[in-house]
């Protein structure tokens, strides 16, 4: 991997991050009409309106507002929550670890089970097990997170009564939300793994490997898997922002005090600095995930590595 390439790719990070920051910044300004009135409602006094406008910096030119917003961001200042009247950064700090716990667990579940099921399905192509896995996968992909969550709640919480159904608490409280978020991802990864494996198993170099007299295990786990994994690695990173998307709904269903439920509350309370901050964080995360996917792909595939 050449240094220049990494540097060049790093610069390609800045543009999307700029776009994301402009987008989150403009959230407040794209609202039709006066944002201050929108936030305070119809019965606000002119003084209240003027004060809020000043607090939000709405009385200055747009580019000045943007620059000062960015400068504050650089110092870790995400503004102040209009509702709780505390710095947004503190509000988010308390929530972030919950979201990370949830998405992290789901991510690990998704990869462990997804890859295993995918390989089993591909190597036992057209067997009963294969049909079982692939059909089940489509089922789980067809359920919205909120309903899957409710159903798991109903079965394991209400009917069987073996798991707590909502709120934070012990690790047991994490199980249902993590599976809610993880199951559809397991399905996606299992399907991807299977499709890639089958694709690769048709390749000429697999025939070569067999013609060399290699046992099936070596053909599958060395020659096929390594190639089949290359496109999946990209997905490993791309999937992270999508998990954050799913977390919004999952956290709401399970009253899990993460960033997602904070976002929803903030939207309803018109707490724009909080909304802006969360959209910005997830946007930046998306860009970084994209970047990492690109870089890993380059590192793992010798053909691209050399092109540099």
């Amino acid at each position: 991997m050449k240094k220049q390439l990494i540097i060049r790719k790093f610069f390609s990070l800045l543009l999307p991050i700029f776009v994301v920051s402009v987008f989150s910044f403009s959230l407040l300004h794209l609202i039709p009409g006066d944002p201050a009135r929108y936030i305070l409602g119809d019965f606000a006094t002119p003084q209240q309106l003027a004060q809020l406008r000043h607090q939000l910096g709405l009385d200055r030119p747009l580019y000045v507002q943007y620059i000062s917003w960015m400068v504050k961001l650089a110092h870790g200042d995400f503004g102040t929550s209009l509702v709780a009247n505390v710095p947004v950064s503190e509000l988010i700090k308390g929530r972030l670890s919950f979201t990370l716990k949830l998405t992290g667990t789901a991510w690990i579940l998704a990869w462990i089970f997804g890859i295993s099921f995918g390989i089993i399905s591909a190597t036992k192509k057209h067997s009963l097990i294969d049909y079982g896995i692939t059909t089940l996968a489509v089922f789980f992909m067809s359920m919205p997170y909120f309903w899957l969550g409710l159903m798991l709640m109903l079965i394991f919480g209400v009917k069987l009564g073996i798991l707590p159904i909502s709120g934070p608490g012990t690790w047991k409280n994490l199980i249902l939300p993590a599976f809610t978020l993880g199951l559809p991802q397991i399905a996606v990864i299992a399907r991807l793994t299977r499709a890639n494996m089958l694709d690769v198993l048709e390749k000429d170099y697999i025939t070569t490997a067999k013609a060399k007299g290699l046992p099936d295990t070596l053909v599958i786990y060395k020659h096929a898997l390594r190639n089949a994994m290359i496109p999946l690695i990209t997905y490993m990173f791309l999937q992270i922002p999508w998990l954050f998307g799913g977390a919004v709904v999952t956290e709401t269903v399970f009253a899990w005090p993460g960033m997602g439920s904070l976002l929803i509350t903030a939207i309803f309370q018109r707490d724009y600095p909080v909304v802006q901050a969360i959209v910005l964080i997830i946007g930046t995360l998306t860009v970084i995930a994209n970047f990492l996917a690109d870089i890993t792909y380059t590192i793992i595939d010798p053909r691209i590595r050399a092109m540099g």
């Binding site: 390439l5 060049r8 790719k9 390609s12 092109m307 540099g308």
Partner: protein, 346 residues
Amino acid sequence: MSSLIETKNLKKYFPVKSGLFGSRNLFVHAVDGVDLEIKKGETFGLAGESGCGKSTLGRLLLRLLEPTQGEIYFDGIDLLSMDKKQLRTLRRRMGIVFQDPKSSLNPRMTIYDILKRPLDIHKLVKDENEKRERIIDMLEAVGLTEEHLIRYPHELSGGQQQRVSIARAIITHPDFVLLDEPTSALDISVQAQILNLLVRLQLELGLTYLFISHDISVLQYISDRIGIMYLGKIVEIFNIKDFRRGEIYHPYTAYLLLSTPALHPEKRTSEQVVLHGEVPSPINPPSGCRFHLRCPFAGNECKKSEPELVEVKKNHYVACYHPEQTKEELRPLVKEKLKMYESVLP
């Protein structure tokens, strides 16, 4: 015979792209200064190995690619001075047939629609019935029948698809047809059918062909004159009679023929005359004569400067500093090898 196509110092460089901001000013020197003349009514064969630029050169002649530098004249018309619209009108007079018959035909169109488009574009026939008749005539001329009109390309065999391609190329009665390896993807027996067809159509319609191929055997059968390309340059041009007599002056031409698989077991390639090494990269072609790295006769002058294409005898051009050495050392082998084209038919 007057010339139909003429080029002067024609060049095409492709930029090598890499990475995101990727211009590193590297270029593939696909065609690097070609002067070529194709005469009316002849079949000019263009031979060379993959990557030598022969297909690029063909596309430049029809201005399907924009040259980096140089001049192209089609029947006296300066092709590069034409605007898009004029060029489209001129396309009636030129046709093209590609190597891969399957990819050459739009899978979503029936054979009828494929053949109708050229007539519609150039508004050659107005009446729909007349159009249909012209298309059927054309199909029959290339050995297909009316029954194929409603077929889709994937329903035909490779040979039949190639016949449709030929029909599309000549339905506007062009003057010039570029044949870019038209038989390379076909089996021997189908190749024979297509070659016969092309020869017949040329006689009937007075077509001029540029026949591009990597296969000397095919070219020696169909061409009137042959040009040999190596790394973006034409290194030798000769007529078929010279070739038949073994009058070859460029060592690369000789080796190309000597490496060609024998068409008879008694004319096997002797191990001593195999050309060693591989074609160098067209991104960074060797200085001097491009062939000097693989040439047994290369001397100092070959490394220093590039030999010009000069007329060594009437209508025979060679770009080499040592044509006489080829003549002395390789010609006996060449003459022996050439006998494979004369063997008595079984």
